[in-house]
């Protein structure tokens, strides 16, 4: 045998030996209990041989087999087997030969489901920190969203209705622009004017609380903040519009927003003869009227005297020209402070006459100017307000300096809700028209410093005397307020108020009483209250703040009207309110009872569960309540639950009507179900009423149906809406109301593929109404006269960049200050990125006059109304950015 042969044989032996040492390893995976093969178990294996590591994975076939190729007999194999129905099972095989390269593994069953997983941050759409959602505008903006309003509407959960923004059903209370709250409640003026390319990010902040001390608690407030690019230069965006019609009716307006990193501006201007006012920053000091009982609960029931004194009054208003503008400027100072000021000017020509008692006719032209400066830092602010008013009859100047500075010496009594505790003020008014108010206020316990100077120059026919005084020791404060006003020669009004407050370590004890007397009508009102508050702000875990209060109120509006009693009790999160009145006629005796509150349970990580409850028994007074679909229920039982991941509401209303009324039938059913976040919404509302009341000559037929079903996201895309209403009202020949409307919308995916929604809309409405205001204790109601006709037609063209919207609408609303009757024929056209052209035909309807009708609780009166003929003009709006 040659060497070559021996070598060959040795090579062959080595080769065969090495082949024998490496072999496929078969893993058979079976159910531990049934010994059935397990299909599609993932097998992740790591083979280690002489420091070489091989890692791979695969799945078992239907017979439960999985083959690991070429495993050396000396290799160690680590197996990690996963299956949804079985427990994760790791195995380590150090000597595969012992198993003859076949390994049978029995998996024990998984005894519980996998944990639910929420991947919260960072989201693809926006980064989220607790309570704050941040959206990058770039990821939402498209060619068709020139304004930030359109961008907002694309964010899930955002809904814009009228002048309010809702986020997941909660109203957004403020809109900040880089930390500056420019327009307060009227934030839609800012939102409508900002171009989307100016804003970089949008924050939606739930559970908002500006006070740093209270941020550990849950609050319902939701705010939105727009954040602009910090390196951006000054940018201007907004919209301008103009309209013209015959009879010299015209409208010009501009809403402009200017943004730079340092300065934010909002400028609004209007010049019109449509009685359309410009947004006016409200003075925050004017609510502190002398003579009011300084108890929070009593303030809620305080009724302006005018509601009770005149039985009937009428206000006639004619065409008025308004020219005005407001410039709001905000300068952010870091992340914690800002400087803000506003300049507001308005010139109003108002033609009106008033038959209301004790009120003189208002002059023709009024000029108003106000200037407000405010510096805010964290929770503290200092603000000065200057108001100048001039018109032909009277003029006055107001100046307020208010602050809330960090001078707190006691940290135990951080009652931030209390604004005005101590007031020292004197008010003098002379017959020659000079009126001087001066006041000084300082509150130490609440950590506030308030300096209040009033210089009130007034020229009027009235004589007023206001006096507020207080006595204070270290622990007790007594406040007195007197108000004497000569309304006419033989008619005067006296209001006296007295309150006693004793802040203690954990208890604020307050008691107050006030009465009001008016000579001519011999009004008498007595308010008395007892408030015992237990602020428990230091105990964050319980989240409790107890307060107990008893409030009684007796009102004798006129001699022959009944006494009204009002009792309010607040305990913890529960409010109980009770109203009643006495009168000889049993028919008008009514009782209003209300119980509502909530139970709150806090969980970890800011989650909480709330159970809300409400029980209400409202009066049905056939003489004063207008029968319609929003009739107050006699009994209302409301239960709601909000917890982690779920929200549930159920409402059941029962209407009970006095059976002695002739021919009255009523049927009511409300059912509301909300389920979040999977968004199941169901809303069924039905209403049926038939009435024929002889002594009021009233006839009512009313059918209202409403059905709404929405099923969101993870479900099968369903949305159904339905409305059916038919009303006929006739009340003593002064009310005629005919309303027939049907609306139905369905949205289905049609085999989950084709999404259809017709883009042509046609809508017709015709209503005739009239206005009245009811001021019964316990509920207030305002009904407007309105006559509206609307025709909507909408057509969407095929090109993506063309959006055409035709709309015709006629609406008339009387009785309010903001009623703007219009015939609104609009064509919207979006030709390019930022240009939005809106051509609108407005009915520049001049309000000839309308009536403001006041009611006493038990009486009604016949009213008159009239309107002028209508005019049509054209209105062009150009949005630019």
């Amino acid at each position: 045998m040659t060497r070559q042969s021996i070598g060959f044989i040795l090579l062959w032996v080595w080769f065969m030996g090495s082949q024998a040492l490496s072999q496929d390893l078969t893993v058979v995976v079976k159910d531990e209990r049934t010994l059935e093969p397990v299909f599609h178990a993932s097998v992740v294996y790591t083979v280690v041989l002489d420091h070489d590591t091989t890692r791979n994975f695969g799945f078992t076939d239907q017979s439960g087999h999985f083959v690991i190729p070429e495993v050396h007999s000396r290799a160690s194999v680590q197996l990690d087997i996963h299956h949804l129905n079985y427990k994760n099972t790791p195995y380590l095989i150090t000597d595969p030969e012992d198993y003859n390269f076949i390994l049978e593994i029995h998996l024990p069953a998984r005894d519980h489901n996998l944990q639910e997983v929420h991947v919260q941050s960072p989201s693809l759409y926006g980064d989220g920190i607790p309570d704050t959602l941040t959206y990058g505008v770039d990821s939402i903006r498209t060619l068709s969203t020139p304004g930030i309003e359109e961008v907002l509407e694309r964010i899930e959960g955002i809904q814009i209705e009228g002048d309010k923004i809702f986020f997941k059903g909660n109203v957004v209370s403020k809109v900040f622009l880089d930390g500056v709250d420019l327009a307060s409640d009227s934030y839609m003026t800012v939102v409508e004017a900002i171009g989307s390319d100016i804003i970089e990010e949008i924050d939606i902040i739930s559970n908002y609380q500006s006070n740093p001390v209270l941020k550990a608690f849950n609050w319902d407030e939701t705010v939105i903040q727009f954040r602009s690019d910090e390196e951006m230069r000054y940018r201007l965006s907004g919209n301008v519009g103009s309209g013209l019609s015959h009879e010299e009716l015209l409208s010009l307006h501009a809403d402009l927003v200017g943004i730079s990193p340092r300065v934010k501006n909002l400028f609004r201007f209007t010049h019109n003869s449509l009685a359309s006012t410009v947004y006016r920053p409200s003075s925050q000091n004017k609510t502190h009227e002398p003579g009011r009982l300084p108890l929070g609960l009593l303030d809620q029931t305080y009724q302006p005297n005018g509601l009770y004194a005149p039985i009937k009054s009428s206000l006639y208003r004619y065409n008025r020209d308004i020219t005005g503008g407001v410039l709001l400027t905000g300068i952010p100072l870091g992340t914690r402070g800002n400087l803000r000021n506003s300049n507001y000017f308005q010139r109003t020509t108002l033609m009106q006459s008033n038959s209301m008692k004790n009120t003189h006719l208002l002059p023709d032209t009024t000029y108003h100017y106000s200037h407000i400066d405010q510096f805010s830092f964290d929770n503290y602010f200092i603000r000065s307000e200057l108001e100048l008013d001039y018109h032909t009859d009277q003029s006055f100047i107001n100046f307020f300096l208010t602050g809330n500075l960090p001078f707190a010496q006691s940290t135990e009594h951080n009652n931030f809700s209390e604004q005005l505790q101590d007031t020292l003020a004197n008010f003098f008014e002379f017959n020659d028209g000079l009126h001087i108010d001066e006041g000084f206020q300082y509150t130490r316990d609440a950590g506030e410093f308030i300096l209040d100077f009033n210089h009130h120059l007034k020229s009027s026919h009235f004589t007023e005397y206001w006096r507020n005084s207080n006595k204070r020791t270290d622990k007790v404060r007594i406040k007195k307020a007197n108000h004497l006003e000569q309304l006419k020669k033989q008619n005067f009004q006296i209001t006296n108020a007295l309150s006693f407050k004793k802040p203690m370590k954990k208890v604020n004890f307050s008691i107050g009483v006030s009465h009001e007397f008016q000579r001519e009508d011999k009004n008498l009102e007595i308010h008395s209250g007892f408030v015992n508050e237990l602020p428990n702000l230091n105990s964050r875990s319980k989240y409790t703040r107890h307060s107990y209060s008893v409030l009684t109120e007796i009102q004798n509006a006129r001699k022959h009207t009944p006494l009204l009693y009002h009792l309010s009790l607040k305990m913890g999160h529960t409010d109980i309110r009770w109203f009643t009145s006495t009168e000889n006629k049993e028919r008008n005796k009514f009782l209003h009872f209300e119980l509502n509150g909530n139970l709150t349970k806090r969980f970890s990580r800011g989650k909480h569960a709330i159970v809300r409850y409400k029980l209400e028994r409202a009066p049905i007074n056939p003489k004063t309540i207008m029968p319609d679909s929003t009739l107050s229920p006699n009994y209302l039982l409301y239960l709601g639950y909000e917890g982690p991941g779920i929200k549930f509401n159920h409402q059941l209303s029962i209407i009970y009507i006095d059976q002695r009324i002739d021919k009255l039938f009523d049927y009511d059913l409300n059912l509301t179900i909300n389920h979040h976040p999977s968004a199941v919404v169901m809303d069924v509302f039905q209403y049926l009423q038939f009435s024929e009341l002889k002594y009021t000559h009233r006839k009512v037929w009313s059918i209202t149906g409403h059905f709404n079903w929405t099923q969101h996201l993870i479900d099968s895309h369903w949305q159904i809406e339905g409305t059916l209403s038919s009303n006929y009202h006739q009340l003593n020949k002064t009310l005629n109301s005919i309303n027939i409307s049907t609306h139905f919308q369905s949205f289905t995916t049609e085999n989950s593929v084709v999404y259809r929604k017709r883009s042509i809309e046609l809508k017709l409405t015709h209503e005739l109404y009239y206005t009245r205001i009811r001021t019964n204790p316990g509920f207030n109601r305002i009904d407007n006269f309105q006559w509206s006709q609307s025709v909507n037609f909408k057509y969407l063209a095929q090109s993506e960049k063309l959006h055409l919207n035709l709309r015709a609408k006629y609406h008339r609303l009387g009785g309010g200050n903001h009623s703007l009757p219009t015939l609104d024929i609009s064509i919207n056209y979006h030709p390019s990125n930022n240009l939005q052209l809106r051509l609108t035909g407005h009915n520049l309807l001049n309000q000839k006059y309308f009536e403001l009708i006041r009611f006493t609780p038990q009486s009604t009166s016949l009213q008159r109304y009239g309107i002028r003929h209508r005019f049509v003009g054209l209105f062009i709006q150009y949005f630019f950015s």
Partner: protein, 269 residues
């Protein structure tokens, strides 16, 4: 006496354990952002059970009332509030993955449907066999420890992160075949398309019904392959090309460029 109690207890718990082991069903929802298409954002909803490997893809944003798609009578998206183009219609379609049959069934827009009324066709294809490369890289996404894997799909390289602690071998889009649920998937360096798991939980009752969605029994019905439609798509593109430049067909060229109907990815050109 004690033995009897134990026997009763065992007999009671035994079928319960069995039930729990067999009825594990889950749903998961993905967010999707396409930065190439004006940051189109959508959602995908999947259901998964060991009984019937079920994976359906939906655009959840379509269920949002604010973002309804409006189309003209040819099926083109016309509502300017959305930016969907025909290219992305496929991702709105339901999809059914069946691992046992190694089949994927899905609904696609029919070429005839584009020219007239919206019309769809259900097709069946072999489940895509992904060649995953495990890199060993890992990162934490919230509470989940995720491992990186890469693959090529339709001539593009995808990077995904999967979590072995969720032993569901599926993921967004067409993806599947990893030893854990895919938590994140990205296309390209700039994350041109991104998927991210938003939520996953126990499915109490199935929301999707495959028969209602048109996914019939696999054993009794033979469905066309997507490539069978290629000729029809070619005709459709030809018609569009003929119309290009016509004033009535302003978007034809855009559509031609955006539509890529050939999904028979034999080679990467």
């Amino acid at each position: 006496m004690i033995l009897k109690k134990i026997i009763v207890l065992v007999l009671t718990l035994f079928p319960l354990c069995h039930t729990i082991a067999q009825d594990n069903s889950y749903y998961f929802i993905y967010d999707f952002v396409d930065r190439e298409a004006e940051n189109l954002k959508m959602g995908e909803y999947h259901e998964w059970s060991t009984e019937d490997h079920f994976s359906m893809v939906f655009d959840s944003s379509l269920a949002d009332q604010k973002q309804m798609i409006e189309r003209d009578n040819r099926g083109f998206v016309t509502d300017i509030s959305t930016t969907y183009s025909v290219k992305y219609l496929n991702s709105n379609m339901p999809m059914y993955k069946n691992l046992k049959h190694n089949t994927i069934i899905r609904t696609v827009i029919s070429p005839e449907g584009i020219l007239s009324q919206p019309k769809t066709e259900t097709i069946a294809e072999e489940l895509y066999s992904f060649n995953w490369e495990l890199t060993g890289e890992k990162k934490q996404i919230d509470s989940l420890l995720c491992y990186k894997a890469t693959t090529n799909f339709r001539c593009q390289t995808y990077e995904v992160w999967y979590a072995p602690e969720i032993p569901i071998s599926s993921g967004p889009y067409f993806f599947h075949g990893l030893p854990g649920l895919i938590i994140e998937a990205k296309l390209g360096d700039q994350d041109r398309k991104s998927y991210r798991l938003r939520k996953m939980g126990v499915l109490k009752s199935p929301k999707l019904n495959k028969e209602k969605l048109g996914f019939v029994n696999l054993d009794t019905n033979v469905l066309p392959d997507h490539c069978d439609l290629e000729e029809k798509f070619s005709n459709y593109v030809r018609i569009l090309m003929a119309k290009a430049g016509d004033p009535d067909c302003l978007n034809c060229e855009t559509i031609i460029n955006s539509v890529n109907w050939s999904e028979c990815w034999d080679d990467c050109k």
